[in-house]
Amino acid sequence: MCLGIPARIIAIKDAALGSAVAETDGVRREINLAMLVIQDTPLESLIGRWVLLHVGFAMAVIDEQQAMASLALLKEADDE
């Protein structure tokens, strides 16, 4: 239920099937992008993006700006 790991999409294998190759720290696997399919948006646009991987499916694209913002807020709070 909970083991979700960030991985980066490095290639689209079969756009019709929604399969892609993702990589994290040198480990690669074929994964499924069915949950990320948005109408009229080509899957290729996801190449280079980080996703949260759970049992071989990309659950969400990681919003890098949100991540940086969360960390920045925390670091600011430390200065207070």
């Binding site: 239920m1 909970c2 083991l3 790991i5 994290t24 720290d25 040198g26 480990v27 690669r28 696997r29 074929e30 991987l53 759970h54 049992v55 071989g56």
Partner: protein, 342 residues
């Protein structure tokens, strides 16, 4: 007579086919001990044993790994290194190995030859001789292609006493390389979970490295080969045998990023992954710098480092000091680690 292209039951029957197999495959690769005609056993003249105080070291190990070949090695290389290393970590100079094969009917001869040649190369590298052996062939399906047993003898010189229960408070814990590479590489090579990475088994004979260590530190407390159960199992056993507290430093554990990533993806712990070229060394603090230097100068110790300390004696405890300042207790897993979703 034309060579068969695969193993058949005839090769295990003891007749001409067996003899041809022994000559053309095994003797061809391993050489004939002392150039004597084949006997039922090898007669060994071990001069070193006549030195007062020296002891014979004797060990055995069986190898059933699948797949037979994987990045960094194969079952043959494993079979030699495993036994050589068991002898070496006991303080012995490994000398002679036996090899017992159980072959599955239908095993391609080319595959067997490749494994046997790998064993011969590894034996040469480790400076040991394979002097006797046995072959059985069973019907298809009764073994998974090939199972190998190797037994080995070596001599422990006088004055060397290395045992699991000699760790003392204040001792330093060293490793000669990265944790978990073999277990991770073999798991990937099985291709049951779909992952790929540039990971190779660390399979290697460590006797030369260990000989150098014993030269600078003959009274080393503990040396253990961290094979099947991993570094975690070995340290847990040492803590129990010596009745000491072992504390590791999480930040100092040498784990390749690929091995770490596999473990995170599958919810496993590299501390309990198998290694085949990794030993745990527990040395008195005053010797640790020189031992580390010796290790780092050796082909199989370039990534050697200190991973923790024996912090107390009297009770067996084993934990990791993590980067947050907490102590994570380490407990032996019951069986094999399984990938998890949670």
């Amino acid at each position: 007579m034309a060579e068969a292209d695969c193993i058949t039951l005839a090769h295990g029957a003891g007749g001409r086919a067996s003899e041809e197999l022994i000559q053309q495959v095994f003797i061809n690769a391993f050489g004939q001990h002392n150039s004597t005609p084949l006997q039922d056993c090898a007669a060994l003249d071990i001069a070193e044993l006549s030195v007062p105080g020296s002891r014979l070291a004797f060990t055995t190990d069986s190898f059933v790994v699948s797949p037979l070949t994987f990045p960094g090695g194969d079952i043959g290389k494993l079979a030699v290194c495993g036994t050589v290393n068991d002898l070496a970590v006991s303080g012995a100079t490994p000398m002679y190995l036996s090899v017992g094969f159980i072959l599955e009917e239908g095993l391609p001869m080319a595959e067997l030859k490749s494994i046997v040649q790998s064993m011969a190369r590894t034996a040469k590298q480790a400076n040991v001789a394979i002097v006797t052996g046995d072959t059985k062939v069973v019907s298809k399906g009764q073994v998974d292609k090939i199972f190998i047993n190797t037994s080995g003898v070596g001599v422990i010189p006088p004055g060397i006493k290395v045992q699991s229960n000699l760790a003392k408070k204040g001792d330093v814990i060293l490793l000669n390389g990265f944790i978990g590479d073999h277990g991770a590489a073999v798991m990937l090579a099985r291709q049951e979970l779909g992952f790929e990475a540039n990971l190779a088994s660390d399979c290697a004979p460590l006797n030369a490295l260990i000989a150098k260590i014993l030269q600078v530190c003959p009274d080393i407390s503990v040396m253990r080969d961290a094979t099947r159960g991993g570094v975690g199992t070995v340290l847990s056993e040492i803590a129990k045998a010596s009745q000491v507290t072992i504390a590791l430093d999480e930040a100092r554990l040498p784990i390749r990023r690929e091995t770490q990533a596999i473990c995170e993806l599958l919810g496993m712990d590299p501390l309990f992954f198998a290694n085949e070229g990794l030993a745990v060394f527990i040395v008195a603090e005053k010797h640790s710098a020189v031992v580390l230097a010796v290790m780092q100068n050796d082909e199989f110790g370039q990534n050697a480092c200190q991973i923790g300390l024996v912090t107390d004696s009297g009770e067996d405890l084993f934990y990791i000091n993590n980067t947050f300042g907490s102590k994570r207790m380490i407990e032996l897993p019951y069986g094999i680690q399984l990938p998890r979703i949670c």
